[in-house]
């Protein structure tokens, strides 16, 4: 029986109930062990993007030269923001605290998003230029740039290499 009624004393009017909690503890122990083993502690998410460049299906390549395209190039020492057709470019030096230069990048991108060319658009091109091991750009830098671009409203991110960018920085 799960409960023993009136087992607590000798009085006639004793209404104390002793619950048998052993099966409950057994179940709890098994459940705790199972849940601890299957628990996922790291929250994994995704960042989606559309690769740019040569495709398997040539019909998917679109020529869209009429509109201004915002290209971002991440280098070891600079982050470039270049607009095609109008030829405007901005370099953000990657020196000092990463939070500062990524903050500047975010502010610049937000300003561009508010501008006439991109206010109703969400597409952006992104490339990372890594030449040698000493001047390497890491995957985390690409993800950070994508994360910032998404946060300011550029959700449609196209990843390519430097040569695939519509607008490249000129020194």
């Amino acid at each position: 029986m799960g409960a023993a009624i009136g087992a607590g004393g000798n009085s006639k009017h004793d209404v104390n109930v002793e619950l048998n909690i052993v099966p409950f503890i057994d179940l709890m122990s098994c459940l705790t062990a199972f849940l601890l083993v299957t628990a996922v502690w790291v929250q994994i998410a995704q960042l989606d993007l559309k690769p740019k460049g040569k495709s398997r299906d040539p019909s998917t390549i679109k020529e869209e030269n009429e509109k201004v395209v915002l290209s971002v190039l991440i280098q070891h020492d600079n982050i470039w923001l270049v607009q095609s057709r109008i030829g405007e470019q901005q370099a953000i030096p990657r020196t000092g605290d990463p939070a500062v230069y990524w903050g500047t990048f975010q502010a610049s991108l937000a300003d561009l998003k508010k501008g006439a060319f991109f206010v109703d658009r969400s597409d952006i091109e992104l490339a990372a230029e890594s030449i040698t091991d000493e001047s390497a750009v890491y995957y985390q830098d690409i993800i950070t740039a994508m994360d910032i671009a998404k946060s300011v409203g550029f959700a449609d991110i196209g990843l390519t290499d430097r040569d695939g960018l519509t607008a490249k920085p000129t020194l």
């Binding site: 503890i25 690769p51 398997r56 903050g103 990372a128 990843l159």
Partner: protein, 219 residues
């Protein structure tokens, strides 16, 4: 080593008389443990674990030499073929039809790709596997085989040129041409370019980059 006499024993050498609540009988040794705090703690623990429990299972597996990058994004990861890039190797994790578990196929060594980069940024061995996988998935979708209702609906919307439907768990994308890139955060951008370029040439037009959620992002 000399044999020593056995050490002290509970209730013999170490007295715990205060635990044994005798009710008038001198030899009573029943101990009534207070289980209430234990049950309380178990209940709280079980409730917490049930809240964090994921019934859908893990899509990604932990690998040595692979630490995911941080980002402030919460969109749930979708099941798709996985391109793995660790500190040393590039591999592909594919769900084979004849096997219950995904199969991992090593493709190339990272250092050899950096030393001798392919001129067209296409990793041939990776392209071969991805192309075969793409064809298999594409045919399955055409036959409506091995695909959920939501994914099928997403494919129909995609064919009509409509944006994907966003649900509470995130956006459901059509698995046709969808792949997941699970790369170490310190991977050189050249390797990422090669992987992305190869995937696109194999037909994977939609890539999902696996990240580790952080409220502060990478900054």
């Amino acid at each position: 080593m000399p044999i020593k006499a056995a050490g002290p024993r509970l209730y013999r050498s170490i007295k715990f008389e205060h635990l044994a609540q005798s009710h008038g009988h001198g030899k009573a040794s029943n101990i009534s443990l207070n289980l209430t705090p234990f049950v309380d703690m178990m209940t709280i623990l079980v409730t917490f674990l049930l809240m964090v429990f994921s019934a859908s299972g893990e899509i990604l597996r932990a690998h040595q030499g692979l630490e995911l990058p941080l980002a402030n994004q919460k969109a749930a990861l979708q099941r798709a073929p996985i391109i793995l890039v660790t500190e040393t190797t590039v591999a592909v994790l594919i769900q084979d039809e004849g096997s219950a578990m995904p199969i991992m196929k090593d493709v190339a060594a990272v250092q050899s790709l950096l030393d001798n980069p392919p001129p067209t940024l296409k990793i041939d061995s990776l392209h071969e596997i991805l192309k075969a996988t793409y064809d298999q998935i594409h045919n399955n979708i055409a036959a409506e085989k091995g695909i959920t209702k939501d994914e099928l609906a997403a494919c129909k919307r995609e064919a009509e040129g409509l944006p994907p439907v966003t649900k509470s768990g995130g956006t459901v994308l059509c698995p046709d041409g969808l792949a997941v890139v699970q790369a170490d955060k310190k991977t050189d951008a050249r390797i990422i370019s090669m992987v992305v370029n190869t995937a696109r040439q194999a037909g994977f037009e939609k890539l999902l980059f696996a990240i580790k959620y952080s409220a502060e992002g990478a900054q």
